[in-house]
Symmetry: C2
Subunit: 315 residues, 2 copies
Amino acid sequence: MRSPLFDRVAIIGLGLIGSSLCHVMRRENLASEVAGSARSAATLKTAERLKLCDRLYADPAEAAANADLVILCSPVGTYGALAGKIAPALKPGAIVSDVGSVKSTVIRDVGPHIPEGVHFIPGHPIAGTEHSGPEAGFAELFDGRWAILTPLPDSDAPALEQLKSFWERCGSPVEIMTPEHHDLVLAITSHLPHLIAYNIVGTASDLETVTEKEVMKFSAGGFRDFTRIASSDPTMWRDVFLNNKDAVLEMLGRFTEDLTELQRAIRWGDGDKLFDKFSQTRAVRRGIIEAGQETADPDFGRKHGTQRESAKKSA
Amino acid sequence: MRSPLFDRVAIIGLGLIGSSLCHVMRRENLASEVAGSARSAATLKTAERLKLCDRLYADPAEAAANADLVILCSPVGTYGALAGKIAPALKPGAIVSDVGSVKSTVIRDVGPHIPEGVHFIPGHPIAGTEHSGPEAGFAELFDGRWAILTPLPDSDAPALEQLKSFWERCGSPVEIMTPEHHDLVLAITSHLPHLIAYNIVGTASDLETVTEKEVMKFSAGGFRDFTRIASSDPTMWRDVFLNNKDAVLEMLGRFTEDLTELQRAIRWGDGDKLFDKFSQTRAVRRGIIEAGQETADPDFGRKHGTQRESAKKSA
């Protein structure tokens, strides 16, 4: 067993990402002590039952006190107030990071609270599932998924190295970029896909001519894929869109332009244009599979009827 | 082993659906003889190597000759010409069906060619993967997936019953509806999702500020889900959009209206509206899981890094 990277790590917020960090930190022996904090009594109780952390606190400042690494894992809209609360408790030389899906506004909201001598290095693991809450976490969540760090120009180099090692030992290769570029990249790879998925599921629930029951019954034709990311945590996603407005509106504008072109091709029966567009997109998936970010199995490796039953029998 | 339902079944087109039918017909002993036909020599050669059919023909009319059931499994744009070719060879009492994703135009294109005494009953199994071609098929594809039949007002009742039994023995529960209603239902559950997926993958490949490599690398945030259906067969999907224009444009209009509302909520920072919208969509996924059309496993049951390795070891 490798020796711990940190004496005490504080995880503020014990949802999918926070609880997964607790699991992987234990598996990899990343901290001598894991302190956890959550806003709701129910989450604290579940975390206690699951033994996610060595110590649990209702007050985030108590969790952060004496920690060498503090990671904010709650929705990004809570970060400003949280930073204000924990700031007085932070010990000199501590690292403060986060897992938020937006980085520029996090720097705006958290940065001013960070005391002299504490290292603030924002971060974002590109990992998740559609499930949320303290029971959703698992140690393998970060395996092979990129973690992006967006250090500030004056970020401490040894602290950055240590945080990089932390994520690598969680299973994540690390990429460094500016917060502004992060927010653009995520707007297209994550935020816009979520917006569109939420939107089409809404549209489909709201028809007079096709019942919701029919939508569910015949969803295997494509629709059900969209419902997965459209069942992600609504609070988290509200905060993402409120905090990455400009980049999301920019990407949405381009999406709509392109969709209008396809709409016109359908209206005028322009089969060549449709064929050309539909032929260009396979290569992107191949690239994602080659980059190790997706399974090559058909249908995401979903089990089909009898396969599912025989998998159950052999389990 | 149950006795065969048909003496001779002809499968015209040996892509994902056609080859899957060949596999399941063998497993379930649905036909004494399976005759196959494909347009391309390469497909015929692959079908021969895989022993998909008992007999293979370059000429669809030869495959259809003497068959009790003929199923068109090529892109819907080919159906009219195909029906013209096979019509003279069809034997009295035979059933002609198809698996096309659109039904009204199939009736328009195929119907006039069907001779007196032959039963034409259009069909559509709501099943598939993103892979195509004769090697993509597998016997379990239809397990638990609905097959929709859209008989005409004068369709022969015993023939309909027989076709229903065929699909049920392939693993599919059967739903009967009108062709017009089918086309509306599929426009929202399948056609619009594919259009949107193709579109966003196109938009993402076409940015100056974010490289295609970055899009692939960080796609686990949501985007990669869309690439699956955006790598479906371009010819098949061109034909779908050319043949279900009105219903797709109607659903697309509603989708765009709803998206514009979300766009406005983002622009004006209306967090309550975003939260409300994002909270309504989880129930739809729950319904799909309860209807047996989706896995309850997080992330479609995708294996994560170390899980993938240990699955390999145990395999």
